[in-house]
């Protein structure tokens, strides 16, 4: 590869041809500030429209300032990143952005996490020299996401994620000039767009333009209500990321402290979604084996491949984009909903509480879960199986508001019976985890043999689409894995075209899986954080004594005492669901 030498702030740098000034500068420790630019290394996610102009630098011989994020280095280039001309321009750019931004930092959901705020702080901006009209738009609240695009700075990250990474196409820039903004087509509400609520737009928004619907207050009211028994479930990825909100290094597992905190906040029982993940494996694994056996027996209506159905963003995507394939996903509900269904029947009976007096709260890394728990399929006489779904970020704020000294909490254990889980339930948080958990169980159930190596290393990884062949005692099982909805779309396209020979496919909407969900602490473009969360999940699995779902004693007891057998009559009633064609969703255009 051709190397190019240049000078940045009087330092000589040698980089590969095609490198941007920004990357060349970072190589020698010069941190040129950026705003619209965001890159998640090793995940092929990059947003560089070169539009905010915060990263401009002075290049000798060039008429105007150059945006470092999109300008490639040239031999002998002389770059200065902090001359008066540059600093003045940069500061003015940020002042201009702020001049068209609400001054409500004190009450903004993003305060403290806002990249515009931190850049204003970094540049020492104390006064806005430009006063004038601010662009204002209608607020849009959906079941999961709030759009307050008065705060949009047109960085286009959400648009990039929504269109390129997720191929959902719900968001794009509309209008021209001063009133340009990123919005659904015709400035409709998100609810009437093909939005899947994956929340990836929220996870990359640098300001408070895109945030989650906050359920904290409603949950607080339930906790205060003496007539209610309030229980909580926590998803596997939450424990791998929650610590970041309290200043712990990324990848720190805080399972025990999280349980202790929830108990102190007043939840009557602290349970684990991982338990429900094990239950999901029992149902989904059994369904897979059933379909597989039918296929092997030559039944023509055997539906293969089977698709995992744990991820609500993915389910939404399927319902909008692949209505012709609605018959192939597993009918098993997601762990969140299985938990709710069991909690409001089996567990409610056990503690003698009426359904309507039991409040189920979930702590999730996800925004689509907020929508999922509101779906009509998951309600009994209007009462939802899961009442409220909160994100990791909301949980962290809630803990802080409850005056809990999180870092000094003792480690505590989940309650039973819905708190016991296996390593298989834990790895649901990573891409490849669900299918690995399913295979651990399916293998042993199918072959009757014990797994020698529990880890299926060939199912792990970060490639957007992966495939693996597993040997089930002579039977070769073809497994497909996709994460990120663009990859899902490609894989599903092959299935639709009859070009794939997979028996089972795992799909997660977010790149990396739930550890990178839309409800997780903000990564601010640092993919290292995501890698550490992923490692933490695998290490929690490794530390578990029981690592296969079908060996979870409480799961076995649940089947024995209540459900009967996996995929049996009662399971079907409580643990399985149906999918709907949303491709022709009637669209209502709202007029202001």
């Amino acid at each position: 590869m051709e190397m190019i030498e240049l000078s940045i702030d009087n330092k000589l740098v040698s980089v590969q041809k095609g490198t941007t000034i920004l990357k060349a500068a970072r190589k020698v420790g010069i941190d040129i500030p950026t705003l619209c630019h965001m890159e998640l290394h090793n995940m092929s996610i990059e947003n560089k429209p070169g539009s905010c102009r915060v990263c401009v630098v002075e290049v000798d011989g060039r008429r105007n300032l150059a945006p470092a994020c999109v300008t490639e280095v040239a031999p002998g280039m002389v770059v200065n990143t902090h001359t008066a001309r540059v600093l003045n321009a940069r500061k003015t750019i940020v002042e201009l952005l702020i001049s068209d931004h609400p001054y409500d930092c004190l009450v903004c959901a993003k305060s403290g996490n806002c990249e515009l705020q931190s850049i204003a702080h970094k540049f020492g901006i104390r006064r806005i020299h430009f006063k004038g009209e601010k662009s204002t738009y209608r607020k849009d609240t959906s079941p999961s996401i709030i759009r307050d695009v008065d705060k949009c700075i047109m960085c286009r990250r959400c648009e990039m994620i929504c269109n390129e990474v997720q191929t959902v196409g719900a968001l794009s820039a509309v209008n021209r000039g001063f009133i340009s903004v990123v919005a659904p087509a015709f400035e409709m509400d998100l609810e009437h767009s093909p939005c899947t609520y994956c929340g990836q737009c929220v996870s990359v928004c640098p300001t408070g333009a895109l945030t989650e619907v906050d359920s904290t207050h409603k949950v607080l009211l339930s906790l205060m209500d003496k007539s209610k028994t309030v229980i909580v479930q926590t998803a596997p990825s939450v424990r791998a990321a929650l610590g970041e909100e309290f200043g712990l290094p990324p990848g720190t597992l805080v399972t025990g402290k999280m349980v202790a905190a929830l108990r102190r906040m007043g939840f009557d029982y602290v349970f684990d979604t991982d338990f429900a993940a094990d239950l999901t494996i029992m149902e989904e694994g059994t369904e897979l084996l059933g379909r597989l056996r039918a296929h092997l027996a030559g039944e023509s209506n055997a539906k293969l491949p089977i698709l995992t159905s744990c991820c609500p963003g993915w389910v939404n995507f399927l319902e909008y984009n692949f209505p012709d394939l609605l018959h192939i996903p597993s009918t098993a509900k997601s762990p969140q909903q299985m938990f709710g269904a069991i909690a409001k029947t089996y567990f409610a009976d056990q503690i003698g509480v009426k359904r309507q007096d039991l409040v189920v709260v979930s702590m999730m890394p996800c925004l689509a879960k907020k929508y999922e728990c509101q779906r009509d399929e998951f309600k009994v006489n209007g009462n939802p199986d899961v009442d409220f779904s909160m994100t990791t970020r909301e949980l962290a704020d809630f803990i802080k508001q409850s005056n809990i000294d999180f870092l000094n909490l003792p480690d505590e254990e989940f309650d039973n019976p819905l708190g016991e889980s296996t390593g298989a339930g834990v790895i649901f948080g990573n891409t490849g985890g669900v299918i690995e958990a399913a295979c651990r169980t399916a293998y042993e159930l199918y072959t009757g043999k014990k797994l020698e190596t529990i880890e299926f290393e060939n199912l792990r990884g970060t490639e957007g689409i992966r495939s693996a062949k597993l040997d089930f005692d002579g039977l070769t099982l073809n497994i497909g894995i996709a994460h990120g909805l663009s990859n899902a779309r490609r894989l599903l396209g092959d299935v639709r075209a009859g070009k794939s020979n997979y028996h089972a496919i795992e799909i997660m909407a977010c790149t990396g899986g739930c550890i990178a969900g839309g409800g997780q602490p903000y990564h601010h473009g640092n993919s290292e954080i995501l890698r550490k969360r992923r490692d933490a999940i695998y290490s929690e699995d490794k530390g578990k004594i029981i690592r296969k779902s079908h060996e979870n004693p409480y799961i076995l007891k649940l089947y024995k005492d209540f459900l009967g057998q996996a995929c049996g009559h009662k399971s079907h009633e409580l643990l399985h669901t149906v999918y709907h064609d949303k491709s022709n969703n009637e669209v209502t255009i709202h007029h202001d």
């Binding site: 070169g50 102009r53 003045n88 750019i93 201009l96 001049s99 006063k131 004038g132 021209r176």
Partner: protein, 499 residues
């Protein structure tokens, strides 16, 4: 050799056939040498030889920036690809510019022929014309011309037995000014949002559908065939040292002969305005001429004898642009002129980069403040500083030049800005907050004609008694002045202290 400058100063190369032939009948074009240059190129010249002719001719892009056309073609010809494209930029959007429309409506074959020549030179067999949908007649005539040329074998497969294939399709723009910028234009043709991206990569290496693409303006293409037929030396004998050939200008504004003219590069503004343009309307005093559209600037009396070419216009704080020339007289307020262009830019910015999206809006607001008589001296400094920062940081050519109208009026008409800010006076009587109407009591006969026509009932007075205008209510529509038969109402430039 051609006589360089005729008595009247106009020499028509790009407009050679406009008004001479029926654009809907290819036979008339063929009778006037259409496709002869294409035939010659295909039969006698290699692509590089043809490019060399263009390079020798000194032809530069007529879309505004003035990039050497031959060089542009050469870069595209050297890009390696299985598919390349020739694009004609017919997204003419400058206020007051209509030369592209006239060429397409009057002589469509000149553009089609040149696109085919370009295709041969760069190795493209597909051409696209990006034309704004607001030009229905040009679109109709282009369609007819393409059909007729296809039928005659002058476009399509195996043109004139040469084995060269070239087809041309139309793409319609939806009226966004920024789509005249070539990267935005390409995105728009691809069905994406029409907004520019950083260059490089230039379209010559990665353009339409990521394939090498050569984009030229209509007028540039219209110059190609004569250069091929008459030779590069003929062309380079016309014009100035670095700007060869002629330029089409659309004369508009306060000038007697509003219209389309084509003059050799190097012609002075004075010739254009007073000789060809017939002088200023109603013999008023010339104040300025705005060239280069919203990206350009204002030239004043001191520039009247400057020979017009690419370099001199930039030197004078304006630019060639596409060739709009809007003439202003003593009744035009230069602060308002700057405000007019900023208003245009604020609406037409694509909204992608911060300086253009927000910066221009803030410039506009400061100008508005000044025209309302609310400006302070610091605003002038702010205008200048912000303008320079926008120029320094905006993403595309549109944003980088958008403050030019402000900077050039600040430079050339600082005293007018000063009067607005300090004396609260608009000498042109244009800024409504800075003047008011008064009725001369001695001339007023109390006929009440003004009172009856006033749309906001600002005029009071008893019959046959002098009337009175309440400036607080008056909206300065000027209706009363029109109606008064006794010349009793006049403009008073000093602002009245409003109660």
């Amino acid at each position: 050799m051609e006589k360089q400058i005729t008595q009247q100063g106009q020499l028509r190369i790009a407009l050679r056939n406009c008004g001479m032939l029926d654009p809907e009948n290819i036979a008339e074009s063929i009778a006037r040498d259409a496709y002869q240059a294409l035939g010659k190129v295909l039969k006698e010249l290699s692509p590089q030889e043809c490019i060399n002719i263009l390079k020798q001719s000194g032809l530069r892009g007529r879309g505004g920036a003035g990039f050497p056309t031959g060089l542009k073609w050469e870069i595209a010809s050297k890009s390696q690809s299985d598919q390349k494209y020739v694009v004609c930029n017919a997204d003419e959007g400058d206020p007051g510019a209509f030369m592209d429309r006239s060429i397409l409506e009057g002589d469509p074959h000149s553009v089609l022929e040149a696109m085919a020549i370009c295709g041969y030179c760069i190795g493209a067999d597909k051409g696209l014309i990006y034309i704004r949908a607001e030009y229905p007649l040009a679109i109709k005539r282009l369609r007819i011309a393409i059909d007729q040329a296809m039928e005659d074998g002058l476009l399509g497969k195996n043109i004139l037995g040469s084995g060269f294939n070239f087809e041309i399709k139309l793409r319609y723009g939806a009226g966004a000014f920024v789509c005249g910028e070539e990267t935005a234009l390409i995105h728009s043709m691809e069905g994406k949002r029409g907004e520019p991206t950083n260059k490089p990569p230039f379209p010559a290496t990665s353009g339409f559908m990521k394939k090498p693409t050569n984009v030229n303006n209509v007028e540039t293409f219209a110059n190609i065939a004569p250069i091929i037929l008459k030779g590069p030396d003929w062309f380079s004998s016309i014009g100035t040292k670095n700007s060869k050939g002629t330029k089409v200008f659309a004369l508009a504004g306060k000038i007697n002969n509003v219209g389309l003219i084509e003059v050799p590069m190097g012609t002075s503004l004075r010739e254009i305005i007073y000789e060809i343009g017939g002088g200023i309307k109603e013999d008023k005093k010339f104040k300025a001429v705005q060239t280069g559209g919203p990206s350009g600037g204002c030239l004043t009396e001191k520039h009247l004898d400057t020979p017009i070419d690419y370099e001199n216009l930039i030197e004078a704080g304006s630019m060639m642009g596409s060739g709009g020339m809007i003439v202003m007289d003593e009744n035009d307020c230069m602060v308002s002129v700057a405000k007019f262009y900023l208003d245009f830019i604020v609406g037409e910015s694509c909204g992608k980069c911060t300086p253009c999206r927000v910066g221009n809006k803030r410039l506009y607001e400061i100008l508005e403040k000044i025209t309302q008589g609310k400006g302070v001296m610091k605003d002038l400094e702010k205008l200048k500083n912000l303008s320079y920062i926008i120029k320094d940081t905006a993403l595309c050519g549109l944003g980088q030049t958008s403050p030019n109208p402000v900077l050039s009026t600040l430079e050339n008409f600082y005293d007018e800005y000063y009067e607005h800010v300090v004396e609260k006076k608009c000498r042109a009587g244009h800024c409504k907050n800075l003047f008011h109407y008064v009725i001369n009591e001695e001339l007023c006969v109390g006929c009440a004609a003004c009172k009856r026509c006033c749309p906001v009932h600002a005029i009071t007075g008893d019959k046959r008694m002098p009337h009175y205008i309440d400036s607080n209510i008056c909206i300065r529509c000027g209706e009363c002045i029109e109606k008064c038969s006794f010349d009793a109402i006049s403009i008073q430039l000093e602002p009245k202290i409003l109660v």
